[in-house]
């Protein structure tokens, strides 16, 4: 007899197994052949081609740790969620190459954790708390919280990205690291970590060096008993290092006696370095009667001094070795330090205007000192570039190994210097031209302040330079551009009647000729303009790009900064001696012509532009030669034309030319009116960001330029919402649909009642018949 129940049960289990298998397989196939559709308007959940290319090239996983405060400020309540979303998306899109973890830091552990995090380079993210609206806000205080990312890749030291915020208000758009820039931030960190990871082995590093590395071990001899293992390990580590390539390591052991003063007898470079002890032992010295007479100080020293370039008077010292460090640990510390001292740095060239006597005497072989000196210094010290002053006239050629050449105020370059710059550009060089259209002496003397007006001067642009730029499709405007958000304040120099001394005081007004770059002015997808919002651009003029010419030359043009809205041109009262009223109010109808097309009246000092002026642009490609194209002779160094025809470009390559029409963005002369804090926190970092972005983009080339600098985020409600509007929409959301349904149900019930009534009436009629 057939047992139907058993058959069914067997059939069921078989079907269940088959269904599970089928569903599992389909899911597996869905996972393997994953296709995705990003519905967001700005494709914010899709990696840019640059990032994708970078991730494809990686051979090791990227580890990302997000350190976030458990209790962020109220307005940052969604910060963790937003960062998590973005990291999650990166993790998925990277095909598993990026892994992330989120570490929340609670209030209780914050103080203990802070020290540990600071060692990693993680610092507080700071929000300025304000009240009022975006346009008119008052500062109430500051609030710090953790929101940093640590990116690890390969063996290189992890990179930290501090100050990550989400976009809550307009001010956040000017922050450098945001949720919508995270893709770029992480990709760029990986890009530089990858380069660091590719460092050669230590042995190879030594072999490739021309000059030997000088290593000196300063060690207490005898060493205290408890530190003997430390000393032995350190000596073994140095022995091992020096034995690798003996010809390239000059190792010297210097034994220090017990006398603390003996330190002074062993100077490394004419006493320039004083070695620090890692511990000091103090003992009382007793006389024969057992009374203390003195304190004997025994320093314990185990320091390694490294001189990577015997000709340079520079040293590095490691003096804080620890007991528990093994030979291998110590060796790694020393090798890392040698690597740091010998690795090649990107060379950035500077072409500077002449020496400014206010900065003191011109050093005999150094660069001219002027308002740009701090920029050069900062790029060397803080950004770790090798900065090179390029005196084209003296060297007769621009070094071809420069990553980038910054030309400050090219207006006055001789024709031959320009010719050399062009040759460098034609051979694949990267040039940044910072053109100055106007200038002012802001150390204002009372006689230059007639009627509260600051004297400004038009800076002549050399006709050859203008013609050369025009040849490449770039032209410069004549007008000085003003904007109501300008922030420059001048000093007024006056004489104190009582003392007869000069006195400087801050003039209580803002001169409108240093427009500040707003986030909407910037090409947000460009790496060149990241973190630049807030940069003041003194003495701004307009630049125009001839699109037809650029197309004809087959150059690639990218607009970087274009001022949007609220831009005026200055109309001098006396064109020969132009003066800007310090209290020029760009909203006052008496002084300002807001109608761009109308001819300005006699008293009008500023007129609104009828278009958005371009301020910075990038041209990329194979540049034509101004001299070869025009069949000109090579200009001589003495200013005369030579008989020589233009030299052909030997190694033609694609170059980059960035033209910015305000050189003074980092000329500190123009920012002396600022408080130190504002100079340090606003003016310099923003300007530095621009130069750093530019140099980095040129160093990394397409790898960096092709990365998407930012993605969009959810748009926000514009302007305040009235309570009545709020209530109306809330009621509509809550009650709209139910009311509609109620009406529908009522209508339906009414129709049915009518139908029933009709039916009953018809029945009644029938019955009555």
């Amino acid at each position: 007899m057939v047992n139907r129940k058993r058959n069914f049960t067997l059939h069921f289990y078989l079907m269940a197994a088959l269904t599970t298998l089928a569903l599992g397989s389909v899911n597996y196939l869905g996972m393997e052949f994953r296709t995705r559709l990003d519905l967001t308007s700005d494709k914010r959940f899709t990696l840019s081609e640059g990032t994708q290319r970078l991730f494809e090239k990686l051979t090791e996983p990227i580890n990302v740790t997000y350190y976030v405060d458990e209790e962020p400020p109220a307005k940052r309540i969604n910060l963790e969620r937003d960062v998590r979303d973005k990291l999650g998306e990166l993790a998925v899109s990277s095909g598993g190459k990026l892994q992330y973890r989120i570490e929340r830091i609670g209030n209780e552990e914050a103080s203990t954790k802070r020290e540990e995090l600071e060692k990693k380079g993680i610092t507080d993210t700071v929000d300025v708390l304000t009240s009022g609206t975006d346009e008119r806000s008052e500062m109430r205080g500051v609030q710090g919280y953790f929101s940093s990312i640590e990116v690890s890749y390969g063996t290189a030291k992890p990179k930290v990205i501090n100050g990550i915020v989400n976009l809550v208000d307009k001010a956040d758009e000017a922050r450098e690291h945001r949720v919508d820039t995270l893709e770029f931030d992480i990709a760029f960190a990986v890009l530089s970590l990858r380069n660091d990871t590719q460092r050669p082995s230590f042995e190879r590093l030594l072999k490739t060096r021309d000059k030997p590395v000088r290593l000196a071990l300063y060690i207490s001899d005898p060493m205290g008993d408890q530190y003997k293992p430390l000393a032995e390990n350190l000596e073994k580590a140095l022995d091992e290092i020096s034995r690798q390539v003996p010809a390239k390591v000059n190792y010297q052991r210097i034994a220090l006696g017990e006398d603390a003063q003996a330190l002074q007898k062993y100077p490394f470079g004419d006493g320039a370095i004083r070695v620090q002890p890692f511990d000091v032992k103090r003992e009382l010295v007793m006389d024969s009667d057992g009374n203390p007479t003195d304190v004997k100080v025994t320093p314990y020293i185990a320091a390694v001094i490294i001189q990577t370039d015997p000709e340079a008077d520079q040293f590095q010292a490691i003096w804080s070795f620890k007991d528990q460090q093994s030979v291998a640990d110590m060796r790694k510390v020393i090798e890392d330090q040698i690597w740091e001292g010998t690795r090649s740095r990107s060379r950035v060239g500077f072409v500077l205007p002449p020496h400014d006597p206010r900065y003191g005497q011109q050093p005999p072989n150094g660069p001219p000192l002027n308002g740009y000196t701090p920029l050069m210094q900062y790029m060397h010290d803080a950004l770790d570039y090798e900065t090179v002053y390029v005196d084209i006239k003296k060297e007769k050629r621009i070094p071809r190994d420069l990553a980038c050449l910054l030309v400050m105020e090219p207006n006055i370059l001789s024709e031959r210097e320009l010719y050399e710059i062009e040759r460098y550009l034609n051979e694949g060089g990267n040039v940044v031209l910072l053109v100055q259209g106007w200038e002012a002496d802001l150390g204002l003397m009372p006689d230059s302040m007639t009627n509260g007006q600051a004297a400004i001067n038009k800076v002549d642009i050399d006709p050859t330079f203008e013609e050369w730029a025009k040849h490449l499709g770039v032209e410069f405007g004549q007008d000085l551009l003003l904007r109501s958000n300008a922030i420059l304040q001048p000093w007024q120099i006056s004489f104190d009647r009582n003392t007869g001394r000069q006195r400087a005081s801050l003039y209580p007004s803002t001169i409108k000729f240093a427009p500040v770059v707003e986030p909407e002015d910037l090409n947000q997808s460009s790496v060149f303009t990241r973190g630049v919002a807030g940069m003041p651009l003194p003495f701004l003029i307009e630049e125009k790009v001839n699109a037809d010419r650029v197309r004809e030359l087959e150059l690639e043009q990218t607009e970087l900064i274009r001022m949007k809205d609220d831009v005026f041109k200055f109309i001098p009262e006396d064109p020969t001696q132009p003066k800007v009223p310090l209290k020029l109010n760009l909203k006052s109808p008496a002084e300002v012509q807001v109608e761009p097309k109308t001819t300005p009246g006699k008293d009008i000092r500023a007129q609104k532009l009828d278009h958005d002026p371009l301020i910075a642009t990038l041209l990329r490609g194979q540049f034509p030669s101004f001299w070869v194209d025009e069949g000109r002779k090579v200009p001589g160094w003495d200013g005369q034309q030579t008989t020589e025809t233009a030299m052909p470009v030997l190694n033609p390559q694609k170059g980059n030319l960035l033209v910015m029409s305000s050189a003074a963005s980092l000329n500190v002369n123009y920012f002396t009116g600022y408080s130190q804090v504002e100079q340090q926190k606003v003016v310099i970092p923003r300007g530095i960001n621009f130069y750093r972005n530019t140099v980095e983009a040129f160093i990394y080339g397409d790898d960096l330029v092709s990365l998407r600098a930012r993605t969009g985020v959810a748009p926000r409600i514009v302007g305040p919402v009235e309570d009545s509007t709020r209530a109306m929409w809330f009621m509509f959301c809550i009650a709209g649909a139910p009311l509609l349904l109620l009406m529908f149900a009522g209508l339906r019930s009414f129709i049915r009642t009518r139908e029933r009534d009709d039916y009953e009436i018809s029945l009644g009629i029938r019955e009555s018949k």
């Binding site: 269940a16 995705r36 559709l37 309540i77 973890r101 748009p715 919402v721 649909a737």
Partner: protein, 312 residues
């Protein structure tokens, strides 16, 4: 199938219950997502000022886990109560067609529920220019999750004639599905720290499911009890011995070790993971296939649980 579909759909709107469910759903979800701040995300919708429906989609799984079972509880139970079940089962049409007819009716009702929330997108339009991609994606995600919940409700409804019990059981399963997604962070961490423990956790969940299934289909109560108890003990034991780790939340990793493979498997079975991805505006084949599989699985279980009655 069309007749069954029309009959069921009419059943929803013939009584005030259908309207009541939609009304209650709209009031609750709008109240939570527009006026209140259930996730502590910094004020109500107007105060946050973000032109998006993230809060709405964020709480939808939880609200749907309660409301959708109320929609689907009557699909089979009502027939059982009115004694039309036997009539249906003796009709000369396959059971799967009847089940699909009922399922599609539930699905259309779900669409009506979602359409009733159209005031929210209208409000977005009024206040600015929202990005419609994530809104559209969010509605797709809600539809898919709701459709899976309707399938769960259909299955549970076929097991009992008591509508209240059907509602309660379906709600528990739906809440469980949402809850497992929320627990993924902890399980992922465990998979990395202790892949074996995570494996036991992961296996014990279908084990318990299998036990329940055995009870329903095979009517083998003892076997079901043993399987459920073993699954429960495995879970508790692993948790006690390994401890819950919830310090960090991790991403999907390369499947290089057992733990990593486990994490990937967990991501694959976590319903909320797929829901959230589509809700952000990223529709992928992976998520679509997953939701369709879930629906097919529960409709299949419903058909076979009904079939088994013929032989019990």
């Amino acid at each position: 199938m069309g007749t069954i579909f029309r009959r069921e759909l009419k059943g929803y709107f013939d009584s005030p219950m259908g309207f009541g469910i939609i009304g209650a759903f709209v009031v609750v979800i709008m109240l939570l997502s527009v006026l209140l701040d259930p996730a502590g995300s910094g004020g109500n919708w107007f105060e946050r000022g973000e032109l998006s429906m993230r809060t709405f989609f964020g709480i939808f799984p939880w609200v749907a886990a309660v409301v959708v079972p109320a929609v689907s509880m009557r699909l089979w139970s009502e027939d059982r109560r009115q004694a039309t079940f036997e009539l249906l089962m003796t009709l000369p049409i396959p059971t799967w067609r009847i089940a699909l007819g009922k399922y599609f009716a539930g699905l259309v009702f779900l669409v009506c529920m979602l359409l009733a929330t159209a005031a929210f997108p209208l409000m977005l339009m009024y206040f600015g220019s929202p990005d419609w991609g994530p809104v559209f994606g969010g509605y797709i995600a809600c539809f898919l999750l709701g459709a899976a919940f309707v399938a769960v409700g259909l299955f549970v409804s076929g097991l009992t004639e008591n509508q209240a019990l059907s509602f309660f059981l379906a709600m528990l399963i739906c809440l469980g599905i949402v809850g497992v997604g929320e627990m993924r962070g902890m399980l992922s961490e465990m998979a990395r720290e202790n892949p074996q423990a995570a494996m036991i956790h992961l296996l014990s969940i279908p084990l318990v499911g299998l036990g329940i299934l055995a009870a329903v289909v095979g009517r083998d109560k003892l076997l079901a009890l043993i399987v459920v108890v073993v699954g429960f003990l495995m879970n508790t034991g692993v948790y006690l011995f390994t401890g819950g780790q919830d310090k960090a939340e991790d991403s999907i990793r390369v499947a290089s070790t057992g733990g990593e493979a486990m994490v990937q498997a967990l991501a694959q079975v976590a319903v909320l993971e797929h829901f959230r991805e589509i809700q952000r505006g990223v529709v992928n084949t992976n998520g679509l296939v997953f939701f369709v599989s879930l629906i097919v699985l529960f409709v299949f279980l419903n058909v076979w649980s009904l079939e088994s009655r013929r032989y019990s």
